[in-house]
């Protein structure tokens, strides 16, 4: 690491300042007019993670209260925003390996391969902490730093939540504490945010060692989805698992299931998702999802060498069963998301 103890410092340095499309406005106002107000914002919170002022989320929209007085006009938000200069990605992307896996150690959404990947990376010594999105009794997300496999005894860490989590602000915190590296898991927008942070700042490049992406069609704001599910008769105190299988949103409770078509929830899909074309998290080190493999298995798209090493470690230790996965099953959803390109030009 370049920032090792005793490293010689510099007393003079230069910082590249990004260009402002709107010359006389602050950078946050630029971001607001270009990304937030145009509904391009994916609420990945990459800007909030680097903002030294106070970018936060107000009423499900990324905002900066009192930015007139508090914004330092440094341009960090604009530098890292993956959608300020939006290059939509789609398709399956490049990959080394396309497999299905089922963890023997953990229980999760399908094959619990996300948990297995991060925990194995901790065991290997590649990273010293993994960031997991846990949830409280009311299914609101909260971030956890997992450093020991034993911490996975908190069963709420596994499984999909279908609401936004503040992954990147937690990542910023984690890289300050880490000794070896951090592993994170996130939706394609979060993965893009991490890559943008890594591209801009070496501190993220050196310390974020493993980025696991999730297959994602769309995401919901917590307020909207909780209200919607309660209307459908879902009792949060009994809710065990949420899942989207073949276009149906299934809420499994201790005493039964509530099913409805995802298209019914179309109105509450977060606006940023309408312009997202990336289903498989193309920029990640490894993408994981349920589509493409048998029931009980997770599809793992291994894209980078570091993820390949983790998979080899899992194979060597026998922590998971592996099987065949079928790329053709992904085509429908990849195509479905690719159609959203039209929304961007509008």
């Amino acid at each position: 690491m370049a920032t090792a103890i005793g490293a010689a410092g510099q007393s003079e340095w230069k910082v590249a300042v990004p260009e402002k499309p709107l010359k006389d406005k602050t950078y946050f106002e630029n971001l607001k007019t270009k990304v937030i107000d145009t509904n391009l914002c994916s609420r990945c919170l990459t800007c909030a993670s680097v903002c030294p002022g106070g970018i936060t989320v107000v009423d499900n929209i990324v905002d900066f209260p009192d930015y007139e007085t508090k914004c330092l006009d440094c341009g960090a938000c604009v530098r890292v925003c993956p959608r300020f200069v939006y290059e939509p990605r789609s398709g399956l992307g490049d990959y080394i390996d396309f497999i299905a896996g089922r963890s023997k150690r953990f229980a999760g959404q399908d094959g619990a391969m996300v948990t297995e990947l991060l925990v194995s990376a901790i065991e290997m010594g590649m990273i010293d902490r993994g960031l997991f999105a846990g949830r409280d009794e009311k299914w609101a997300t909260e971030m956890f730093h997992v450093r020991e496999p034993e911490q996975l005894a908190i069963t709420t860490l596994g499984g999909t939540k279908y609401t936004f989590a503040d992954v990147l602000p937690a990542l910023k915190e984690a890289i300050m504490f880490t000794k070896r590296g951090v592993g994170i898991v996130g939706t394609p927008c979060i993965v893009s945010g991490v890559r943008k942070l890594q591209q801009e700042y070496p501190i993220f490049r050196e310390r974020v060692k493993l980025v696991v992406g999730l297959f994602c069609t769309e995401n919901f704001h917590y307020d909207d989805i909780s209200k919607f599910l309660q209307e459908k008769g879902v009792d949060f105190s009994k809710l065990v698992k949420t899942d989207i299988i073949k276009g149906k949103f299934i809420s499994t409770m201790t005493d039964g299931k509530v099913k409805f078509k995802v298209t019914e929830a179309e109105d509450i899909v977060a606006s940023g998702c309408n312009v997202c074309t990336d289903f498989t998290a193309v920029e990640s080190d490894a993408s994981v999802g349920s589509v493409g493999s048998e029931k009980g298995f997770s599809t793992v798209v291994v894209r980078e060498e570091n993820a390949k090493k983790v998979i080899e470690y899992i194979k060597e230790k026998g922590y998971a069963d592996f099987g065949e996965a079928d790329t053709s099953q992904l085509d429908f959803l990849i195509g479905h998301k690719k159609k959203r390109e039209e929304n961007i030009k509008r």
């Binding site: 370049a2 920032t3 490293a7 010689a8 410092g9 510099q10 007393s11 003079e12 340095w13 230069k14 910082v15 590249a16 300042v17 990004p18 260009e19 680097v50 030294p52 002022g53 330092l72 440094c74 341009g75 960090a76 530098r79 300050m176 700042y201 070496p202 501190i203 993220f204």
Partner: protein, 249 residues
């Protein structure tokens, strides 16, 4: 049992017995005329404390740079920073917790905290021991009844009291200990987001940020102006500033 020796006291002859008895009577008579007591008659007299005695802590707001070092270093968590009306943060001390280690004074980079020799402040209850900033600026009110101050002296392997007329000064301005000169440096310039918080918080104007032509921001830390207080290191949101030993050329 056979092997045990009987302990026997020393045997004196008559001449030695008379000598020791006369000496004892002599000491008794000397003490009755000129008592040689070890007791300090507080409050009529005070023990003279050394100049670096760790007592009540004084505070000078003009020298404070609100770097929070005192509250961070305090091992007893006795120091809390409170916002003053001028929007700055100043320390307050809870003497119910303070262990008088004076680490706060040693760590104070502006020299705003000073030690005094006052060790006898009375409080009515625990809540009163919490001392707000305003009460730390002036010496606490003390009714001085002492006319003498007392020093202990060792003479011929014997401890004596030496009494001197006059008042002992309770506040002696001890010069701060010689510090290792430190300077703030950037260890990862590429990760700088250019927020200029460091330049804004620097009390001594050591950090400058200027926009150059071509849209680059030039950051500079002036090693001559930097006092090594560490305020910028603490405030840097990317934590890329670090205090290093100043190597003068």
């Amino acid at each position: 049992m056979k092997s045990m020796k009987k302990v026997v006291g020393p045997e004196y002859n008559l001449g030695e017995k008379i000598k020791t008895n006369v000496y004892a009577v002599g000491v008794a008579m000397q003490e009755s005329v000129y008592p040689h007591t070890m007791t300090v008659f507080y409050p009529r007299e005070r023990k003279k404390m050394p100049d670096n005695y760790r007592g009540f802590i004084l505070f000078d707001p003009d020298k404070c740079i609100s770097c929070f070092n005192c509250s961070f270093v305090c091992p007893a968590n006795a120091i809390r920073m409170k916002e003053a009306p001028n929007k700055r943060y100043y320390p307050t001390i809870d003497y119910g917790r303070c262990i008088f280690c004076h680490f706060c004074i040693d760590s104070c980079s502006g020299g705003a905290l000073k030690a005094t020799k006052i060790h006898d402040v009375a409080y009515k209850d625990m809540d009163e021991m919490y001392t707000p900033t305003e009460e730390m600026i002036e010496l606490p009110e003390i009714i001085r009844e002492d006319k003498k101050y007392v020093e202990y002296e060792i003479e011929e392997d014997d401890l004596h009291l030496k009494r001197t007329k006059g008042e002992d000064y309770l506040f002696v301005d001890v010069p701060p200990p010689k510090e290792i000169p430190m300077v703030s440096e950037c260890i990862d310039p590429d990760s700088c987001i250019g927020c200029r918080v460091c330049a804004e918080v620097c009390e001594h104007g050591a950090i400058s940020a200027s926009v150059e032509d071509g849209g680059t921001l030039r950051m500079k830390i002036d090693a001559d102006e930097c006092t090594g207080c560490g305020l910028c290191v603490k405030e840097c949101s990317m934590q890329i500033l670090k205090l290093n030993k100043l190597e003068r050329k």
